[in-house]
Each structure stands twice: as C-alpha cells, then as structure tokens.
Amino acid sequence: MKNHIQLVFALMLAVIATFALAGCNEITDTTGTGSQTTETGTDTTSGGIPTTAIDEEGDVVMAFLHAGNIQTSTDKVEAAVSAYVRSKLGFGIEFKLLNVFDQTTVYTNWLVAGEEIDLINVAFSDPSLYINEKRVREISSLITETNTPNLFAELENHGESKVLGVDGKLYGIGTWESYAYTGYSYTIRKDVLEAAGLYGDGEGQYSHLEQITYSDLDRIFTAVRNVMPTTGDGLTVYPCSAIAGTQNYASGLIPFDPMGNNLLPLAVMLMDPVTGEFTEEVVNYYETDEYKEYVEWIGNAFENGYIHPDAAITTDWFSDFFATEQFVGVLLQTEPGIRYEWETATGLDLIQLPLSTSYTYFTAPAISLMIPSKSERPYRTMQFLDLLYSDEYLINLLQYGVEGEEWEFADQEHGLIWEASEGSHANYVIGGFWGDKSIIYQFVNADDDIEAIIAEVELINSERDLLQATAIINRSPASGFIYDTTSQGTRIRNIEANVLSKYFNTLSVGVGSKGTDGTFTGPGSTYAKFIEALTKAKMYLVVEDKQAQYDAWKSEQEG
C-alpha cells in the first residue's frame, strides 16, 4: 500500500513539474509590450459611430463602488439608468457592485477570471499598475473613433482629468476634480474656536481661510484642551485629529508634487507652503528638513496628549470621532464644497484654516474611470461616458438615486435638492462620475431656509473661484511629467511594502511612548531607523532616476 501511495505522489509531482516548467521555453520579452487585442475595423456610419460599435452586443457592465452599505434602492437606480441609457443609445447598463476597500483584489480576480466588465472605477490606487500590466486599454484612439465630443473637449480643457501612461497615451479619465489644488485645512468647529477666544479678526485670532503654521496649531490645540478637555460623555477630546491613513498633517504642512502615481510620497518636488513656489529638485520626502521638523512637532503633540493614543492602529474613521466630539477639528481639503457637506451633515458651523496656499500639480486623479483591456464593448462604453458628461438627469440619477424617492428639488434653478423622506439621503456611489460638475445637484438640509442656502451656495462658488485662481498661479513645473517606473518599479514596490508599511503610520501620527522611568520616547528614534531602512532599500536611486527623467523631460519641453 505504501508503494502505491509513493507511486501516486510521484505521479503528482511529475504533473506539477510539467506545468511549472511549461513556461520556461517562452520567449523572454523584456520590453513588456506583449500584444494588444486589435480592433476589427473603424468604418464609420454617417453619425460618426464606427460599425464595430454597432456590432457590439449586450449591455455595458460597469463597476459600482460602495463603501460597505449598499443602498436599498440600488436595484431601482440600476433599472432606471439602464432604461434611460437604452432609450438614448440603444443598450442598457448593468451594475457590478463592489466594495471600494476590496477593489484591488476583486478587480484582479475579475480580470484574471475573464469576468464580463466594461468599465471600472479605480479609486485611491495607483493606476500605473493597471496600465503597465495592460489591465486597461488605451482610449485615445477610441475618442477619435467614436465621436465623443464631450470627452474630447473635457480632456482638452482639463488636464487633471487625464490618466496618462508613460507612452503618453490616454488610459482613463478622472472623476473628482483634483482637490490637490486647494491643499488641506485644519477645519474646526466655530463654536469651539469662539469659546477658546480665538475666532475673529482681532490680534491673535483666526478667521475663516486664514493660513496657519505649526505655532498656530500649537496655540489652538492648547486652547481647545483648556476649554474642552472632555466631551459631554466624559471622553477625552483630542484637538489634533491625526490618524494613520486618513489624517496625515504632513500632507497639509509639507505640500509637494508627487511626480507620479504613488499613494504615499517618495521622490517628490516640494512647494513652499506660504509662497507657493516649487523647487525643481527631486528629493526624498522623508529626508528633508521639513519632514524632520514635522516629526518633531507631531511627536510633541502626541506627548502633550493632543493625539489619540491609538491613532496609529485605530480603524475608526475620523468622522466617527468627530461625531462623538472627541475631535473638534479635522483635516479636510480646503474645498468649500466639502466643508459645506460636513456642515450639512453635522449641523455645525465650521472654520477652515489652510495649512498651505492653494496649488496644483498634475498626477493621476484619485479616482479614474478605465476600460479593461478585455472589454467586449469599448465603443459602447465610450458612448455611455460621453452621454454621462452632459446628461443632467443621468448623472444625478447615478449620484443620488431616483427623484421623488430619495430626493426632490429644493430649488431647481440652483440645482439644490433635499431628502424626499427623512433618512433617505445618501450618495449612491463612491467616487462619483466624471462630467460637467455644474450640472450635479447639491444636497442641502431639508429644514434650512432656501434663500439662505442659495446665498451660502453662491458664497461657496466665489470661494472656490478664488482658491482655483490662486492654485493656477501655483502650478507645479512638473505638470505633464510622467515618471517611467520601468527601472525602479521593483525598488519602489519594495520600499512601499517593506519600509513605508512599517514606519509611515507611526511617524505620521507622532506615536511615542513613556517608559517606566517617565521619560517619553518620541518618534525621533523611529525616524532614524526609518531613514536607515530607506537608505538600505536604496531610495536614493529612485530619487536620482526621477531627477534624471525630469531633467530630460524639461529639456525636451524647453527645446
């Protein structure tokens, strides 16, 4: 019997070896070009739509991101969207629901398994992986072939919407407008700032949109701790909302152009937070004097008890802490629309104190719509995207649900909507969709005076115009530069997986600890080990490579 078992295992090992070695005779292709699926033809009808689009069959299948809670009426929204698009374009839309936190693994599984999917929403992930591994197709040619005037115009006018590959071709379209141009603000409850005597135009006081620095933050934190040490329920109030992953004060205090698609900064170009001037030197973000200063400051904030003790490991959202009043100020993008959304949701007046001036840089958008390379309906998908851009009914249906059920107009002329029934409000989809932002409605509180709301919305729009005007002036010189990661990709992935994953969260929230002798060990020693690990991982080679590529690109632009 033992011999039989040995025979079986020997046979199985032989099978494994056969499969494992099957790939060894393939031609080594180091260029990584592989082969693209080719289109069958670009004959066009008189309407400018190629015959291949007409030959495509079936409904467009699109990924529909949610944050864990699927709205109960999602199937109604799907049916309404499908019926509407069918009436306009002759085909329907099918949703493939997906939790935004699972997208990296689920998209990979879908693509490997050959799942039917025509449109994906790559949110808060590096799209270059999708481009380099040809998970998505280039769409530059599709734009010219499918008569999509809205897409063409949008991409011509808004460079931030583009997702470009190293080859300069277009691979996706951003949904959100790039909020990087407004920077980050310490957004604090107006009532708390008033109670601390710090709100106003007087000496030592702060007014809305007044830029602040480290010392101002220290003053505010100390004052908040004095006037509001605990919540009504006896929980400790933490003036500094630093939380690993979502509330990183370094991002606001040390603005930079990432010059690439990395989620965390690596080799970057720094900007002066006051003047808005960018250097043209590529640096290791973490070895700069600015970052060292930040580590010391955040460590002091932690030592003083201004930061939640579990900031480095908590999985709770900063919005949850804000709801329980343990946070009275949070880090938000200096975007009046975001502030207004928070005020609407919380019923509180908020003051935004920017940590830097407004600026803008070119990088891949935070959320990008992309077409998988194996999509069987790329042309139909492009037609759908083009319709989405300018169709007011469609984009708001996708964003907010069915009119009359989830929402109704508060003021149609100004595009203001409120809940149709109590508790029905929610955004249906994470990340939104691309399109003309002026036709997307705005949610307001049902109880508010509509005239006051309209005045507020107009104020918000003028605030935004001012911020954008400043941002355009403070534009990174590296706008348009695409970093080719071919030579350093492995090193970058190693740094992200083995170094940043270990140290970044701790340093971003200043975690330290007191020893039994009462001495506080701040993040300083952690910082030293972090830099040592980065050096060992040869981060300097990434910096050198990026600088060389940037210099070459700059010469080409000027030449």
């Binding site: 499969f19 990584g32 693994t105 390379s373 997986a497």
Partner: protein, 314 residues
Amino acid sequence: MNKPSFIQRIKKSNIKNFILVWLMMLPGLTYLFFNNFLPMYGITIAFKRLDFSLENVLASPYIGFENFEFLFESDAILIYIRNTVLYNAAFIILNIIVPVTLAILFTSIRGKRLKGLYQTMILLPFLMSWVVVTYMAFALFSGENGLFNSWIVANGGSRINFYGERAKAFWPFILVFFNMWKGTGFTFLFYYASVIAISPNLYEAAKLDGASYWQQVKYITLPSIKPIIITMFILGIANIFRTDYGLFYLVTKNSGQLYDVTQTIDMFVFNALKGQGDLVQSSAASVMQSLVGFVLVVSANLVLRKVDSDNALF
C-alpha cells in the same frame, strides 16, 4: 536473489483487492487534483511580466527571477521567515504539550457536570471569530481605555502603548497565548479521544504492580497516544509556513511598529496584494514561502524516519 520487476510486483500484489480502495479514493483524489494540483500551473505567474490584454494572461512573457529581486532588496524577508518559523515551532510544541496535558488531567475528573463545564470552557474560544478576539485584545491593550492602561493610570503609572515599538517584546507571548487559548479546545478533543480509548486493563495492571499516577502516565498513556502526537506534529510541520490571518493581522491591528516580531510571510503577501494589487509580487513571495516550507517538511520527515519510521509521512 533478483528483485522482482515492477510488472511482476503489480501482478503479485493482487491488484484486484486494491481496485475498490482506489475507487473509493477517486472522488477525493479528483478533487485534490483539480483544486490543489492543477492550479499549480499558476505558479508561473511569479516568473512572468503579466499582460492582461492577452487572451490568456498565463501566456504573458517569461522574465526569469526578476520578480523575486525585491524580496532580497532588504533583510525584511529574513525577518518574516524567522517570525514564521519560530512562531509555528512554538505553536507546534505548545499545541502538543498543553492539549495532551489537559487530556490526561481530564481523565481524573470524576464529576460528569464538571467535565462538561470544563470541556465547554476549553472549546468555546475555538468557536469565536478572530474579529471578536481582536476586540477583546483591544479592550485589554488599548492606549485610551484598555483594561491594562486603565489599571496602570489608576495606580499612578504612565500609559503603555502596547501596539508600539517599546512594547514589541510582549507580543510573541501575547500571540502565543491567544493562539493557545483559542486553538487548544480543538486539538484537545483529538488527544482526549485517544486517551479514553486506552484499555483500562492496562491501568489496573499497573496499579496492581504498584505504579504511581505519573508512572502510569509515563509508561502507559504517553506511549499509547504517541501515534496521534506524531500525526499532529507532522500536520503542524506541513503548515509551518502558513500563518493565521486572524491572529497576525487582526489581533496586532497590523501595527507597523510590531512588524519585526509579528510580520510573517503570509501577512506580507496579503499586505502586498491588498495594498497594491500587485499579483506578481505576492506570487513571488508565495513561491518563496512554498519552497522553503517544502524543504522544511521533507527535512522534518527525514528526521522522523530516523526516530520512528512507521509514523513518518513518506
């Protein structure tokens, strides 16, 4: 005397007797083949530059060991291997000693109700989800309102950041404790079943010969359950390169400061895939894990064949 040929041995073995046995094994073997062995072809992903535009992504170009380079750019992989091996070694040893001891002690309990109560207490943690255990651990170790820190602060001390670097020396013990606390109930059942299957006549004879309780354990109980101990040991060795996601990721809250003592290869692979969606990087780490694990299992089996060849795996 010449050794009979393969065909002669088959003819001699009266293969008809084994046909029914093989037929019984066929469904399981088929499942094993399609679920465990056929997908092994996917191992080639680790040696390729993926091109999803191809009809079959597995036909992507082969680039040798390029995807493995990142593993050796830092000494992190050695730390992860060390953590994996040491933790599993501790788990294997303690997962034998503790349940065996409990099983033996259980035989001394006379009261039926007490026995049932103790059995429930031992088994209950095994039935809990690791998510629940995570929050129990957090309730103990939280920097803000954790039980330990509340007690420390109430007694005039300074809070300890248990998820921070200065407390990382605690974590090997914490993880081993939670693994034992949760897993003992299940393995205990195997050993207890073996212990109660031992013939009482042996114990009676030993008592007549004047053997003490510990002598009975040493000369009767332990030798009798030796086969199951070796089997469980082999199973543990086979999984020595796997780690429990719930324990190493959830309970530690994936705290980067503790990576030196808590990060294992499985967790590294998971973080790489979850965080970056990088299939090739995680595949390369997985291949590395499998190769080293294979070497360990074969080595352990070689040692076991010297000690007790009858119970060796192969």
